[in-house]
């Protein structure tokens, strides 16, 4: 079974803090993705990576950056957290064009 893990289930941060969200997958997938989920909006793609050190912007990259130094790990960085970044963050991975598998999510609250 594919396993995607995320470093925290719940996270509370203050406005202006730098926030790191970590995602690890154990199936040697090339592609990894970061989404945010907000009620009524579904999932929106923030960034994705199709190889180590490669990244591409998704639909809503503003205020975020990413890092992929190793194939199994994909990090989402909020350089200076703001209250409008309070959301559920979901990481996913896939092999080629195949099915994306999701982690359990991190619910981030920015105060």
């Amino acid at each position: 079974d594919v396993k995607v893990t995320q470093s925290s289930r719940y996270l509370v941060k203050r406005t202006g803090e730098k926030v790191f969200l970590e995602c690890v997958q154990d199936m040697d997938h090339e592609n990894m993705f970061w989404y945010r989920q907000d009620p009524g909006l579904g999932l929106r793609l923030i960034y994705f990576s199709y190889d180590v050190k490669m990244k591409e912007k998704g639909d809503i990259p503003e205020g975020y950056s990413v890092s992929r130094e190793k194939k199994e790990r994909f990090s989402l960085i909020l350089e200076s957290a703001s209250t409008n970044q309070t959301s559920m963050y979901l990481c996913a991975s896939s092999l080629g064009f195949d099915t994306q598998y999701f982690g359990p999510g991190t619910r981030l609250t920015v105060l």
Partner: protein
Amino acid sequence: AQSVAQPEDQVNVAEGNPLTVKCTYSVSGNPYLFWYVQYPNRGLQFLLKYITGDNLVKGSYGFEAEFNKSQTSFYLKKPSALVSDSALYFCAVRDDDYKLSFGAGTTVTVRA
């Protein structure tokens, strides 16, 4: 650009009755369609996908989906719903790219 629409915010059914969740899509190329389910405070779980072939696709937990190209629809179905099927369901579409586009989600409530 690809997109999906889930026209129903909520679907309510009685246990034992058929369950249908609607999804319509728009793509420029061949559609690759997916259904995911999300239980409270959990990530998304893959249910099934349509890539090509038979218009009726079988998936996990007794779910199936019907692909209709002429109506650009991909309906999720279960012949006999269970209370434990109560969850948030997402339809997603991909064309010739890595990226998935998700619908806003449909909340399914199955009452005992």
